[in-house]
């Protein structure tokens, strides 16, 4: 999966769970920047990402995610892009 595809999917999932427009999101966005991104919504997000990417985060990662970019990087490492 290419990084762009991952990025697009992550943004889409965050926007649907936090019920915010994708345009307010960037890789530097943290939970604090988004209204309603509390610990509950965070668990929702983790569950949705795990479904989408068919992976399982370690608990330490779940509580340690710095910002949206960190999530994307982690997923990119797990899903290395296959060269065309």
């Amino acid at each position: 999966m290419s990084d762009d595809v991952i990025k697009e999917k992550v943004f889409r999932i965050i926007s649907s769970i936090m019920n915010v427009n994708q345009s307010v999101l960037s890789e530097k966005t943290t939970a604090k920047d988004v209204e309603g991104w509390d610990s509950l919504k965070h668990m929702r997000l983790i569950m949705a990402l795990e479904r989408e990417f068919k992976i399982k985060f370690k608990p330490a990662q779940i509580i340690g995610m710095e910002n949206v970019g960190a999530i994307i990087n982690d997923l990119a490492e797990r899903h290395p892009a296959i060269p065309d």
């Binding site: 889409r12 999932i13 668990m43 929702r44 569950m47 949705a48 479904r51 608990p59 509580i63």
Partner: protein, 592 residues
């Protein structure tokens, strides 16, 4: 068996619901754990059943306060349902994680603490709302603390929890409309590994996985559907590769797969499941593209078939389109399309019905996996009910008889002659406590011949029959073909010399026989005896009860006014009791 609904799709669906004009369903959830996004799944399934779910989520581990304190706001939204999630781990760590340290006396004490707590919560809730309460029973430990030893003991941890679940379900005086979700069933279906997610339990006191929450939400929706009268009534089955393996027209009666070896054994098990539904009052119909004589040959003579003609109310075997045939079946049975479930292995037929008759529920079975048919059918929960009455027991057979009755109509010159020939016996009497369940069920399930469509619980009916301010009458019908049981009811309320017909309803099985006139005449006589000068009545239109819109005006009532109450338009009529002689009792038979 059900696939996990993509959670993205769940959120998208529920975020787009704001403009939908659907009846609201207010659900209050009390909990001592985190259960997110259970609310999203409930809203999603509620929407699929035609409701706009509004969830009031109680604060984490605040159940007792919310149930007892007069200041809690959580019940201010007039809940239609209250869901209680009390996880035993939070309620009693002694029983769940320190069981091996407990003496016999400690165990007794802790059991009684838990039960007392639950009783207080339930009592508190009942003082705040009469809404049905759905209680989630305790899960059994997958690994009891004392391992194997626990299984050898009568008083071990597992049995203690089982005891609690049994005690909670013991009948309660003065407390009806309490229902249970056995979380152990959800747990068994998914398996321990898939049901729990310990990461979220330790991070945020959230025990269940997404899959588990979907399963739990669906279990609740099944209860809600049943209370709202949305239980399906008729199962329509295709034949080839659905009831048996193979194609009858090509393989012949000797080669179709049904019997005691695979795959025939799996089809036979599915047929057993269908017969079990028939015994619970589900109407069975067949809709198949085949030569009718050949299907009859199988139903009558194939030695391995379990399903026989005696179980089948309507058989439509021809080469016409299945959508036409399904409509035909609904018409013969006189039930709505939305009460039908259609099962077929052909994607073509399933999609055609889905597209052209979206009200019909469909299940596609996969003929390479007949071993899954039964669970697939059961996992949809379309026929799940919360109670089981005498009427349910014989309903499947009733419809088989009913179709015979209709065939006999054509032998008579007029309908009156036919009705006379039926030798009907009607019993219209006051409801006593034995009839509460059936009358409540009728108010919840009757849609077409129902003047006001007011849904009542057993408690409501009990209130109506207590005192002398109102009467509840039931209608029982018999004819030469069989016993219908209780097929109608009316509630009449007296107030200062006026009588008001609060509810007036008949099961669609009893229509076109003059029963409605007999019931109305009885109500009028009753009002006269009570010294009423006039009798008032109402008609509240719904999508389904158009057939009764002129019921009262056709019988000499005059229209008083119409008014709007919330979503309902209410037409009001009245009849001066001195003129009531005009109402003709068209019932041909004996009335007791």
């Amino acid at each position: 068996m059900r696939v996990l609904v993509n959670i993205d799709k769940v959120y998208e669906t529920i975020h787009s619901l704001n403009d939908e004009k659907l009846p609201q369903l207010n659900i209050t959830i009390l909990r001592n754990i985190t259960i997110d996004p259970l609310d999203a799944y409930i809203q999603y399934f509620a929407y699929q059943s035609g409701f706009l779910g509004q969830i009031q989520m109680g604060e984490y581990d605040n159940v007792m306060q919310e149930a007892l304190l007069p200041t809690t706001e959580i019940f201010n939204h007039k809940p239609d349902f209250v869901l209680i999630f009390l996880k035993l781990e939070t309620l009693s760590s002694k029983l769940t994680s320190q069981f091996s340290a407990l003496s016999e006396k400690d165990i007794q004490e802790e059991k009684s603490n838990v039960l007392t707590y639950i009783n207080s919560v339930l009592t508190g809730i009942r003082q705040k709302t009469a809404a049905p309460v759905i209680f989630h029973l305790f899960e059994m430990p997958c690994y009891p603390e004392m391992g194997l030893y626990d299984s050898q003991r009568q008083d071990g941890q597992s049995n203690t929890i089982q005891y609690l679940n049994a005690e909670i379900r013991a009948p309660r005086k003065n407390f009806s409309d309490l229902y249970f979700v056995d979380l152990n069933l959800c747990l068994m279906r998914l398996g321990h590994e898939k049901f729990y997610d310990n990461r979220f339990w330790f991070i945020g006191k959230q025990p269940y996985s997404l899959e588990a929450m979907q399963e739990i939400a669906f279990e609740n929706i099944k209860i809600i559907r049943s209370i709202k009268g949305l239980t399906k009534k008729c199962l329509i089955l295709d034949c080839d590769n659905t009831l048996w393996g193979g194609i009858l027209g090509e393989d012949g009666i000797d080669k179709i797969q049904i019997g005691n070896v695979y795959p025939g054994a799996a089809f036979k098990a599915f047929q057993q499941q269908i017969i079990n539904l028939y015994r619970q009052g589900i109407i069975i119909a067949i809709c198949s593209k085949n030569n009718p004589e050949e299907v009859d040959e199988v139903l009558n003579h194939h030695p391995e078939m379990l399903l026989r003609n005696e179980h089948i109310a309507v058989k439509v075997v021809n080469w016409q389109s299945k959508t036409e045939n399904i409509q035909h079946i609904a018409k013969i049975l006189n039930i709505g399309l939305d009460h039908l479930v259609f099962v077929d292995d052909s994607a073509f037929e399933i999609n055609l019905v889905k597209e052209q008759l979206p009200m019909v529920s469909v299940i596609q079975v996969f003929h390479e996996e007949p071993e899954n048919y039964s669970n697939l059918l059961l996992s949809c929960g379309y026929f799940d009910k919360l109670s089981f009455s005498e009427e349910d027991k014989s309903r499947g057979k009733f419809y088989v008889d009913e179709v015979k009755r209709q065939k006999e109509i054509s032998n008579y010159v007029t309908l009156d002659d036919y009705l006379k020939s039926l030798k009907m016996e009607l019993e219209i009497k006051d409801v006593d406590l034995n009839y509460l369940a059936r009358i409540a069920q009728l108010t919840q399930r009757t849609n077409q011949f129902n003047l006001t469509t007011k849904r009542y619980t057993e408690d409501n009916i009990k209130d109506f029959i207590a005192g002398n301010k109102s009467d509840v009458l039931y209608v029982k019908l018999k004819d030469k073909f069989g016993d219908f049981g209780v097929i109608g009811a009316a509630i009449i309320v007296y107030n200062n010399g006026d009588a008001l017909i609060d509810s007036f309803l008949l099961s669609c099985r009893a229509l076109s026989r003059g029963v409605e006139d007999a019931l109305l005449c009885t109500l009028i006589k009753r009002a006269g005896k009570k010294g009423c000068k006039q009798i008032c009545a109402e008609y509240i239109p719904t999508k389904k009860n158009k057939q009764v819109e002129h019921f009262y005006t056709d019988r000499g009532f005059s229209t008083v006014d119409e008014r709007r109450e919330g979503e309902n338009l209410i037409y009001r009529y009245h009849l001066d009791l001195s003129l009531s002689a005009k109402i003709e009792n068209k019932f041909h038979g004996e009335i007791r």
